[in-house]
């Protein structure tokens, strides 16, 4: 339900942080594709919206010292269409291209997708699989932490009042990736999604692998047990099937009523998605 609110549009990160710190009932507005929907439905809405879209320094995509840096205000459509990203990190552009409709992708930002902390958000598994770090800036400076440590639970992050997510940093690493999303209709939030980033030799030896899944638990999950099973091994059909069994036990499916599918079905889906994703990475190797 809409309520009256105030609106400001600062020009700098520092100014934005200061306003956010001083007004306890305030929220950052980027693309608004999640926030505005929540404001229509939840009766407790922020008194002040801090529109950060004018902060130009948060809109860059760049490679620096081999590392990919994405500003938090970069839109999903820009990620989908960026040459740098489609060439080197196609799982990111694939994930972005599967989100919402073009209109939503033109508005929605990568930072917003992260900070909204939806357990099934499409950008999160590929970023985690790529070993992304996030830079948080507050009134007392900046710090960087792994993205997988950024989430506390559904809709909850480590961000404090007066802090903004400013940048996503993806380290250089050898490998190939895949992103898969399971939905029933088009333009739908993922029922489940998976990202795999792996360094697999020509003859099928897995030197390194990172697997992350969305809508598989209360927050996006890194599937470390499954990774360990596959790492430093030769990938065979049998091993992948075994990994599928492991991942189906490693996920933490929600049992809350609003979840649209049963935990049992979700465990099955995790197997199907893992097998398909690994086959896709290996296929890309050949």
């Amino acid at each position: 339900m809409w309520r009256k609110f105030e609106y400001v549009r600062p020009e700098t990160v520092n100014e934005a942080c200061k306003i956010h710190f001083e007004e306890s009932s305030s929220a950052f507005l980027a693309g608004g594709t999640d926030l505005l929907i929540q404001m229509k439905r939840v009766s407790k809405v922020p008194k002040l919206l801090i529109d950060i879209k004018n902060i130009k320094e948060l809109k860059q995509i760049a490679i620096e010292n081999g590392r990919l840096k994405i500003g938090s205000l970069v839109t999903l459509r820009e990620i989908e269409k960026s040459d740098i990203i489609t060439q080197k990190f196609n799982l990111l552009s694939t994930a972005a291209s599967n989100m919402g409709s073009v209109q939503i992708r033109n508005r929605g930002t990568v930072g917003g997708n992260i900070c909204n902390a939806s357990p099934g958000a499409d950008m999160l598994p590929p970023l985690i699989a790529l070993g992304a770090q996030v830079k948080i800036t507050g009134l007392d400076g900046s710090k960087t932490l792994p993205l997988e440590d950024f989430f506390k639970g559904p809709g909850e992050t480590v961000l404090n009042r007066g802090q903004i997510l400013t940048e996503i940093i993806i380290p250089e690493s050898r490998g190939k990736g895949a992103f898969l999303k399971y939905t029933v209709t088009s333009v739908q939030v993922a029922i489940m999604n998976i990202a795999v980033w792996a360094d697999i030799t020509e003859d099928g030896f897995c030197k390194d692998i990172r697997i992350a899944m969305g809508a598989a638990g209360p927050k996006p999950l890194r599937m470390k047990t499954t990774e360990e099973l596959l790492k430093d091994r030769r990938i065979t059909e049998e091993l992948v099937r075994k990994a599928a069994d492991v991942i189906s036990n490693e996920i933490q499916p929600s049992t809350r009523e609003r979840a649209r599918v049963s935990p049992e079905y979700r465990r099955h889906l995790s197997k199907v998605l893992l097998i398909q994703a690994i086959n896709s990475v290996i296929g890309g190797n050949r």
Binding site: M1, I37, V184, V189, V272, N279
Partner: protein, 752 residues
């Protein structure tokens, strides 16, 4: 001839350029905006309600609770005295709430945000009452009683109908089949949500209401009952509608809006629903439970069909009694049974009220009947097509409620569809996980005159310059009906359609009409306009005969000019004749059409579906739908095809994706994020097929096609699913998880 030809719709330009005026586009300088406080409880008594704080909020102009409204019961769907079996179980506001989303109080304020804020300030003390959400549970005598004053055991309506002796028929049968089938709640999802504006004139005690409605005259009638006002003091105007689908087939907040306007000193008050309100507080498709028992002989003759039906009507009766009665007709009309019995109940629960929605119970009844018959055919090794050709209704059959069947081309629909689908050839080719299925449907064109009165009116006038005005009370809900009605008039008068101006009459015209539902608009509208055109044509031909010194029989009208058939150079433009009638005969040039159908043409059709099942996920991918319809005559073929396509997509949504999910009466998915309707990317290939009949003046028999295609999609999908992977689903929607579960039970699931 315009009938049968495609021309641009008269409303097309306004709609694509954004000029069409919808309810929310209407504003008045002193207008107030209203919001409604809704119940968080599925069943509760309101013990105390304190609005003092809300009233103090600057900008608030009127607050209403149950204490401020007349204690007059009504039924929001009431169409007249023939609806004596409709319980009057609603009040504008009451001290009791019966579903989550039920109205508790309303506020009108200077702007919608103030009204919303005021809702927060209303203090309500509820006493929660035991609630019941399952219709079978609700029918047990010892549970919560939702409307004890008008019902016992929560039964809204009971309907038993049939012929012969089903028990005897079972004895004569070689095989007996039984099945239980369940369908779910679906929402209308019209692009435009519900809304109304009311303006109460305190001096004249007159009320004007603008409403996004399919039924202006019904809205006026119910307003008159609920507010205890004379009909003559109420005017209902319908602006352009952004979709109805049955959801706007009854009264919603018009009475509340009127009282708010009255309390606010006569200032106009607007209510527009949010999408969430649209989901939780309007109407849904009746969830239904069917138990079918069929007796059948070795040669495929059906000796008995016994149907037990329970429709979940939700918290208020509204149209449930009618939906129940029509439900029986779907079973009775489609096939010949030696013995037949339908025993049905519509039942109250503490859920969102069920009401009219595209298909009007048809998708539910047909899912049960057609799935059941497909199962029987499969079990007995009969070809479902041949099995049906043996048992379907044919011309001359007499059925209860509707009477004698005439002009039925169901057999052709089946044969044409089977040929297009290459049914006999393709069904033998076994492709892994690909299946084909078929199902039939029947639907009404207007309520059957035996159970509901039918009439509509129209006026056609010719002005002194020869331009033509067609005044019709038919509500074009966006289907193009107005354009079709104009075509009939243009053809009858042999004038270019550009010469005709269409005036959509509001209730102040007193051109009575029941409204747009049951696919009645085109049939009734075209015929009333045709009668009006005939009358005015007679007047001008009479005068022209005098002027040209000829007889009426020797005259013809060609492109707006009257001429003598044998000597076409002797001619008069229609305008000159009209002018002469006005100024020489001193008479108006007007024709009035009153159409009272004796029968309503029943519409028939067949659906063929081809699909592929993903064994890993249970996901169904529909490869093709062939949707065949007996329409007698397509007045506007492309509009008919677009109705078939759009309606088939509804069917896909109903079968696979859409579901209003309630937990203890609370809707868990009241957004388009979570309630999944088909988007353009989800549309399968649909081939609409129109089957026409060779009849004289076919517009007299135009059959409805607005609700039909959806009806037989779900059973056709269920049959194709069985053909593809050998599983039976007897409960809609057929979600991937449900399909996966059924496959898993049979060891058919794959992981890669």
């Amino acid at each position: 001839m315009y009938v049968g030809k495609d021309i641009p719709r008269i409303d097309a330009a306004d709609k694509v350029t954004g000029k069409a005026v919808y309810l929310d586009d209407i504003n008045f300088p002193d207008m107030l905006f209203a919001k409604i406080l809704r119940s968080p409880y599925p069943h509760a008594k309101i013990l105390k309600i304190d609005t003092r704080e809300a009233e103090k909020l600057p900008g608030v102009k009127a607050v209403l609770t149950h204490k401020d409204v007349p204690k007059i019961p009504f039924n929001s769907s009431y169409r007249g005295p023939f609806h004596a079996y409709y319980p009057f179980d609603e009040y504008i506001l009451e001290d009791k709430v019966r579903f989550i989303g039920d109205k508790v109080a309303a506020v009108a304020a200077e702007d919608p945000l103030i009204a919303e804020e005021a809702l927060d300030l209303i203090k309500v003390e509820y006493q929660p009452l035991p609630a019941v959400f399952d219709p079978e549970e609700a029918m047990k005598s010892n549970g919560p009683q939702i409307h004890p004053e008008v019902s016992s055991k929560n039964i809204i309506s009971e309907w038993v109908i049939g012929w012969g002796d089903v028990e005897h028929g079972f004895k004569e049968a070689d095989y007996i089949f039984e099945g239980r089938y369940k369908t779910h709640r679906q929402a209308h999802c019209a692009m435009e949500t519900h809304g109304s504006i009311a303006k109460y004139d305190l001096i004249k005690n007159e009320l004007t209401v603008w409403s996004s409605t399919q039924v202006p005259f019904n809205v006026r009638r119910v307003l008159s009952i609920a507010l205890d006002m004379p009909i003559s003091k109420i005017r209902v105007i319908k602006p352009t509608i952004g979709g109805g689908f049955g959801g706007k087939d009854e009264v919603f907040d018009e009475p509340l809006c009127a009282l708010l306007s009255k309390k606010a000193g006569g200032r106009p008050v607007k209510i527009c629903y949010s999408r969430e309100e649209e989901f939780i507080a309007t109407r849904v498709r009746h969830p239904a439970i069917y138990e079918l028992k069929t007796g059948i002989k070795k040669d495929g003759t059906i000796t008995s069909l016994h149907v037990k039906a329970i429709l979940d009507g939700g918290a208020y009766a509204t149209a449930s009694p009618q939906v129940l009665r029509v439900n029986a007709t779907y079973f009775m009309n489609l096939y010949r049974y030696l013995n037949f019995k339908f025993e049905g109940y519509a039942v109250y629960t503490n859920c969102i009220p069920s009401g009219a929605i595209r298909g009007y119970g048809g998708p539910q009844a047909h899912f049960a009947l057609e799935t059941h018959l497909n199962e029987i055919a499969q079990e007995l090794g009969l070809d479902p097509v041949e099995f049906r050709l043996k048992n379907i209704r044919r011309d001359g059959d007499e059925v209860p409620v509707y009477g004698k069947i005439l002009g039925c081309r169901l057999e052709d629909c089946i044969k044409i569809g089977a040929e297009k689908a290459e049914w006999h050839k393709k069904r033998r080719e076994k492709n892994k996980d690909i299946g084909m299925g078929m199902a039939l449907h029947t639907h009404t064109t207007g309520p059957p005159p035996r159970i509901a009165p039918e009439t509509t009116t129209a006026i056609v006038s010719i002005s002194e310059d020869g331009s033509i005005t067609l005044i019709s009370p038919i509500v074009d809900v966006g289907t193009g009906t107005a354009t079709s009605i104009m075509k009939v008039v243009a053809d009858e008068l042999s004038v270019p359609i550009e010469k005709i101006k269409y005036v959509e009459a509001d209730t102040s015209s007193e051109l009575f009409d029941y409204g747009t539902f049951a696919d009645r608009a085109n049939f009734n509208g075209c015929n009333a306009a045709l009668l009006a055109a005939k009358e005015v044509k007679k007047k001008i031909l009479q005068k022209a005969a005098k002027m040209l010194g000829s007889s009426m029989e020797n005259l013809e009208i060609v492109n707006g000019v009257i001429r003598i058939k044998s000597s076409p150079e002797k001619r008069l433009p229609i305008g000159d004749v009209a002018k002469a009638i006005y100024f020489e005969e001193r008479q108006p040039v007007i024709g009035v059409g009153e159409f009272i159908p004796e029968v309503n043409p029943m519409a028939w059709g067949a659906t063929f579906v081809k699909l592929k099942v993903d064994r890993r996920t249970g996901k169904i991918n529909i490869l093709k739908i062939i949707s065949v319809h007996d329409v007698t005559k397509a007045v506007s073929p492309e509009q008919v095809r677009s109705q078939i396509r759009g309606c088939a997509i509804w069917g896909v949504g109903f079968s696979l994706y859409e579901e209003v999910i309630l937990r203890n009466g609370k809707m868990l998915n009241p957004t388009f994020r979570d309630y999944r309707i088909c988007r353009s990317l989800d549309f399968p290939e649909i081939e609409p097929v129109i089957v026409e009949a060779e009849v004289d003046r076919p517009e007299l028999f135009v059959k409805g096609v607005g609700q039909n295609a959806l009806i037989s999609i779900a059973p056709a999908i269920a049959a194709a699913l069985y053909d593809a992977v050998g599983i039976r689903i007897r409960e809609t929607p057929m979600t991937p998880e449900k399909v996966w579960m059924a496959m898993k039970d049979k060891g058919l699931v794959e992981e890669e």
